[in-house]
């Protein structure tokens, strides 16, 4: 039993995270260059992943749509 537990991988969960994933790094750059969007971005976890301020997902979606994007929304 203890061996089975040890075999399980240790993980830390980050729940209820608002995240924007882009197709490529250039698109992420394009989003960050938009002042209104950049203000809602807390940080860039990777080239393609932008961490959004908690509770600001609607504002981000509005801005993305204003930019002409059609984002796929997961977990609405």
């Amino acid at each position: 039993m203890s061996q089975a537990i040890a075999a399980r991988m240790a993980v830390k969960l980050h729940r209820r995270v608002c995240l924007v994933m882009t197709e490529d790094a250039v698109l992420a750059e394009e989003l960050l260059a938009r002042k209104k969007l950049a203000g809602e971005v807390l940080g860039r976890l990777s080239e393609r992943a932008l961490l959004i301020r908690p509770g600001r997902i609607e504002a981000v979606l509005d801005e993305l749509i204003k930019m002409g994007h059609t984002p796929q929304v997961v977990g609405k």
Partner: protein
């Protein structure tokens, strides 16, 4: 359930009326027993029979209208039109008998009596509802309405005009798309904002008259909007009319059932008038809901085949409806309301397919076979045969929809991914990038959309259109927004690789962080949880500050992604020394960058208080404030260092010595005026305090 909001006494009283028990019923069984009785047709029939004629009429109206919820004001109006002069009493009796229930928000306090409830609510707007089983049993009760059919009908050879019933479902679909473009805002009195009213009044499709029309209704767009609200295709959220979060289930409902839903929603049409159009009434109810139901019930009195004209119907309303006359304009009053009745019957009911019309040697109206099946006990009307192939998708991404093949299901499905452009015998829709996106966001797939178009199309979707749809759908794949994802952080990149290879994780975010395809929690079978952070919760303390005030030690168990993102803006990472604790250091440069990126001292204090439990350390404050402080002064001073603070305090306080001191530098250090040093030394020695020179 409404019964849960009743006080114990009231619940027992209602139970007594409906169950007539010989022995007391245990309180925990009362609700269950009442509901069981209301589901028992013989019991319901007996209790309905116990009611007075106006009470039975009220229930019959509820049943005939197919609307279980009515405003008390409308019910009282209709009862008064039927000759009842008892006011609220019949409604009170129905409430007491458990055949009606009040619609009320659960406010924590239980309801002690119905008079109390009726007194608290705005009287006319208070609502009651009944259960479907009760309404169904009561709807056949005779209402005593007169037969107003005209003895001289149209020539026998006349063929009546009858609508296909699709006009209103199509318009409701179009108004849903307009609201999806931008919610309609309302004022506190539920009036539309001027801009939104104009949107409806000038909308190319919604403001136009129906293709098959006999009368043109004013503000038909506004009517459609409020009708959509009544059918719950729209909802009021924070004072805005918008699409509901959970859309009304669009099942494979036949057209006749869809029309019954629309008919039932007439009870909610308060801000529209058949002649005046959009009209918000304050502190009074519209005559439309009550008059509309009374007119339909009047049309149901004559045998099949008899015809009506508007004038006698209007005359009856004129004589009997207590409030209708007041809402009419002077010109319409002169004709005793006939244009109003014609507008309602021909503009509202004709497109619903409830009435049929002959315009020959006068205008004659009667219930259609569908209308008779609803109100006059006529045979159920069979559904029209389905024409599967009714769409033609053109290479320019326009769709022509031949009306005879449309069904509520197809209308609802098309509305999700194509935009209605015109309504007529052949309707047109347009495939657009935006509407395709909305379709995909509503849960449709590209394959599903194409399948719909192919299944109902007279020919397969053109390659150019397929290409367009594919391109629009691909565009959506470029950005994915996770509104509430669970990120899984592994201890090493190797662990993440293993998790991905086993299919536990679908998307790699960083070398150690990944997430499942739908952003949901992972399967815990192969995982051991060592930390759990909720990003909607307040940030946790996860940093310890060293005594130097600049070194920040991160607690690995408590840190989160926000911290990772934020701390890099304030401090610089300290290269690892083999210790597992990650460190950052505040530097003048890092804090200068933070200030340049918009951080103020207050912001930093708040951030440090949340993350360390204390404000920005002094060293950090110096880094931040130093550049903006006035310049410092460097001078040579003669310092007298006394052995303890008490002597320093004494020298500062005693006027004889105070004049010799320039400044106090610390608890035991004093700056002395060099020219007065000799005098000070003499005084000190006179006191017995020795002074040595360094």
């Amino acid at each position: 359930m409404a019964l849960d909001g009743y006080s114990e006494t009231l619940r027992r009283s209602v139970a007594g009326s409906i169950l007539k028990p010989r022995n007391p019923i245990p309180l925990d069984e009362v609700t269950e027993r009442i509901l069981a009785a209301l589901a028992n047709p013989p019991v319901v029939d007996r209790r309905i029979a116990d009611q007075s004629a106006p009470g039975r009429a009220a229930l019959a109206i509820l049943g005939q209208s197919r609307q279980p919820i009515w405003k008390v004001g409308h019910l009282l109006t209709m009862l008064a039109a039927l000759g009842s002069a008892e006011g609220f009493a019949p409604i009170q009796a129905l409430l007491d008998a458990g055949l009606l229930f009040p619609v009320r928000e659960f406010e924590g306090s239980s309801l002690g009596g119905f008079q109390q409830w009726f007194g608290q609510e705005p009287r006319l707007s208070a609502e009651v509802f009944t259960l479907p089983g009760v309404a169904e049993r009561a709807k056949g009760d005779p209402l005593g309405l007169p037969n107003l059919a005209t003895p001289d009908g149209p020539p026998k050879s006349s063929l009546p005009r009858i609508s296909d019933g699709l006009e209103w479902p199509l318009r409701l679909a179009a108004v849903g798309q307009l609201v999806a473009d931008g919610a309609m805002r309302t004022t506190q009195t539920r009036a539309l904002f001027k801009r939104d009213l104009q949107r409806l009044q000038t909308h190319e499709l919604l403001a136009a008259a129906p293709a098959d029309h006999i009368a043109i209704l004013p503000d038909i767009g506004v009517l459609t909007l409020f009708w959509a609200l009544g059918t719950e295709q729209l909802a009021v959220v924070d004072g805005e009319l918008t699409l509901p979060k959970v859309a009304r289930t669009q099942t494979n409902r036949p057209l006749t059932d869809e029309l019954v839903v629309l008919l039932a929603a007439i009870a909610t049409l308060e801000a529209w008038d058949p002649l005046l159009g959009y009209r918000v009434l304050e502190n009074q109810l519209s005559a439309v809901p009550s008059s509309a139901i009374l007119l339909l019930l009047l049309l149901a009195t004559a045998p099949a085949g008899d015809w009506y004209q508007a004038a006698p119907l209007a005359a009856w309303l004129w004589e009997h409806h207590p409030a209708w006359q007041n809402g009419l304009t002077v010109e319409v009053q002169q004709q005793r309301g006939t244009p109003w009745v014609e507008s309602l019957l021909l503009g509202l009911f004709y497109p619903l397919g409830i009435v049929e019309v002959v315009e020959r040697e006068g205008r004659f109206i009667r219930l259609s076979p569908f209308g008779r099946s609803l109100f006059a006990g006529g045979a159920k009307v069979p559904e029209a045969p389905a024409f599967l192939q009714t769409l033609m998708v053109q290479p320019n991404a326009e769709i022509i929809a031949y009306r005879q093949g449309l069904t509520p299901t197809l209308i609802a499905r098309l509305s999700r991914f194509a935009r209605w452009k015109s309504l007529g015998p052949a309707c047109t829709l347009e495939l657009t990038a935006e509407q395709t996106y909305r379709g995909l966001e509503s849960g449709l797939t590209l394959a599903g959309m194409v399948q719909t178009l192919n299944q109902h199309g007279v020919r397969p979707v053109h390659a150019a259109v397929m290409d367009l749809l594919q391109r629009w759908a691909d565009k959506r794949e470029r950005i994915t927004v996770y509104s509430s994802a669970t990120l899984v952080e592994f201890l090493s990149p190797g662990d993440l690789d293993v998790a991905i290879s086993r299919g536990m994780i679908a998307v790699r975010i960083t070398d150690r962080i990944g997430l499942c395809a739908d952003g949901a929690d992972p399967d815990y079978k192969n995982l051991r949880l060592i930390g759990n952070r909720d990003y909607e919760a307040k940030p946790t303390k996860c940093i310890a500050v060293d005594d130097d005030g600049v070194t920040l030690n991160l607690d690995p168990g408590q840190t989160d992604l926000l911290l990772e993102a934020e701390i890099g803006r304030l401090a610089e990472p300290v290269p690892s020394d083999g210790n597992s604790v990650r460190r950052f250091r505040l530097t003048p440069g890092s804090l200068r960058r933070a200030a340049q990126s918009g951080y103020k001292l207050d912001d930093l204090d708040v951030w440090f208080a949340a993350r360390t439990g204390a404000a920005l350390p002094a060293a950090g404050r110096m880094f931040l404030l130093g550049p903006t402080a006035p310049s410092s002064l460097a001078t040579k001073r003669l310092v007298l260092q006394v052995p303890n603070p008490e002597i320093a305090d004494g020298l500062m306080q005693w006027p004889t010595t105070r004049d010799c001191i320039e400044d106090r530098l610390g608890s035991t250090a004093l700056a002395v005026d060099e020219s007065k040093l000799a005098a000070l030394r003499a005084i000190l020695e006179s006191l017995g305090v020795k002074v040595e020179f360094a």
